[in-house]
């Protein structure tokens, strides 16, 4: 049961992100919601590769243990974090430009493209 706790957290975080993505009106809050979804995915990947009692997956200095945690999901997570960093930065700079052009961050008022 306790082994599945990370996945439970992932589910809750993901749903929190999704709900606030659909319910928020403020662009900054939407950006935060997307970051939360990204974090949920990253936790999901890391906890996929976790083995109970496993040591760090390095060739040297790995310690005494006979099991190691899986290295691939960790590599994937690192890559995903870098990508999320880039997209969050891009998203925030776009939001900044929106603020400059429209003077508001309310998505209901940013509607020049319609129909």
């Amino acid at each position: 049961m306790i082994g599945n706790a990370p996945f439970f957290v992932v589910g809750v975080l993901f749903l929190m992100g999704l709900v606030s993505l659909f319910l928020s009106k403020n662009l900054i809050k939407i950006a935060i919601a997307i970051s939360i979804i990204g974090s949920a995915v990253n936790i999901f990947l890391v906890s996929l590769g976790y083995r109970a009692g496993g040591t760090i997956p390095v060739h040297f200095l790995a310690g005494e243990g006979s099991t190691m945690v899986l290295p691939t999901p960790q590599a994937m997570t690192l890559t995903a974090i870098v990508i999320a960093l880039a997209t969050t930065a891009l998203l925030l700079s776009l939001i900044m430009l929106v603020w400059r052009h429209y003077g508001t961050l309310d998505i209901d008022e940013i509607r020049r493209l319609r129909g």
Binding site: V41, M76, L113
Partner: protein
Amino acid sequence: MNWNEHFPALLLIIPLFGAFLAPVCSLGGKMARNILLVAASFLTLVVAFLLWRSVLANGIQYYVMGGENFRLALPSGMALPVRIILEVDAFSAFMALCGSIAAFAGALFSVNYMNRFSGQSRFTSLYLLLATGMLGMMITGDLFNFFIFIEISSIASFGLIAFWRDKPSAIEASLKYTLVSQVGSMLILIAAGSLYGKYNALNMAAIGSSLTMGTMEKLALVFLVGSLAMKCGAFPMHMWLPDAYAEAPTGVTCLLVAVSQASLYGLMRVCFSIYGVAMGSTFVPWMIIIFGLASMFFGVSMAVVQHDIKRLMGYHSVSQVGYMLLGLGVGLLVLGDARGMADFGFTAIKGGVFHVFNYTMYKALLFLTAGALYYATGKKDLNEMGGLARRMPYTTFMFVIAAAAISGLPPFNGFVSKLLIYESSFAVHPSLAVVALLTSVLTLASFVKVFQTAFLGPEKNNLLHVQEVPPAMLLGMVVLTAAILGATLFPSWTLSNLVEPAARALVDQSGYIGAIVGGGM
């Protein structure tokens, strides 16, 4: 050394290297940068062509990244491939060929089109990066790698859509696309993670070889199909597409058309090569067919009422993607059924695959003609144009060819692929073909309207100064026109040499898997 074997890597290295060389080249002035843009995209096209030739001659090609030997898919003592593998079968090579033709035409067009604007070194860099992402999606054989390439192409396209950052509408379109596509990419990553958790592999062939349907697989399939259908602009997740296509600089729109095809490629790769017959139920094929029908019909009915020429074409993109989804969905429906496959399934897949080629060519050409109109007149609204056929004869000629092809008028290539789709979807249910035909009629109506208002009629007084666009832009359009006319004049050659190997490779799941896992089916 045999160069043939390195084509998959070269296909990615050339545009990627070009992208990072662009800021350096810009120090040498405009000329150097333009030469870099055109040369890099031309070399990519050449490599894609050679790769396609070599795949047709020698079968599936793969390339192992990060290993000591690039031909060693399964290191000894391993049951599963552990490296990142690029796997190119006839379908991937076909898609890469289509994509690089569009990229080359867009690059030629952009040389003049972007001349009036600053920030071109960024433009060149992002353009080549977008091409890299697109080609990477098409030739990778690894799910996580697919996610990375989708992110490379997304980030490059966010930047390019918002290239004119002083225009509020461009920022808005880019922001919309960013929001939608970020959620989509996260879903793809979850799907890749869940499949990894189940099968300990990220390689598509390795997952496909041992896949049995369960809850986790269903979840992953739903996430993958949903997010990739969103990325290729299927209704009801299409709302970003017309905005993004309309606001991006025109050369980029031409490439974005091909990028949306890369997402379609991913969707088909997932459905046919990873899941394939193991999918079991007809739920997902019917979902794809319904996505297709809805995109077709709603896309075209929203296109008919548009005034902005690029938005109009953007909505047509939604409806054209519907045709491919319909054709490939019908093929997927009868995948496990040998008789249905021989009767109409394979025809449907051929129609879908041929439509990918046709769509990429004529849609890219239509966007380029729209860009040429904008370049020459400075206007986007159809109501403000008129009588341009006298001023811009070449553009008019190419527009007519593209419009006839997209409306499916015989004998143009659009007619051939649409006919294949009508025939085969009729065998599933007549109403599918009815919707497809109706869409085709509305498409024709809408392009007659564009032709009549923009090119025919009396000349407007404020458009008397208009001149034909510069030669490099015309050349970019000529490349695509030549591709359309080629497919029109030699339909049987195109079908048997270009389309059929690709369709056969798409259906051949065991071939795709066996090339990597080595007869592990």
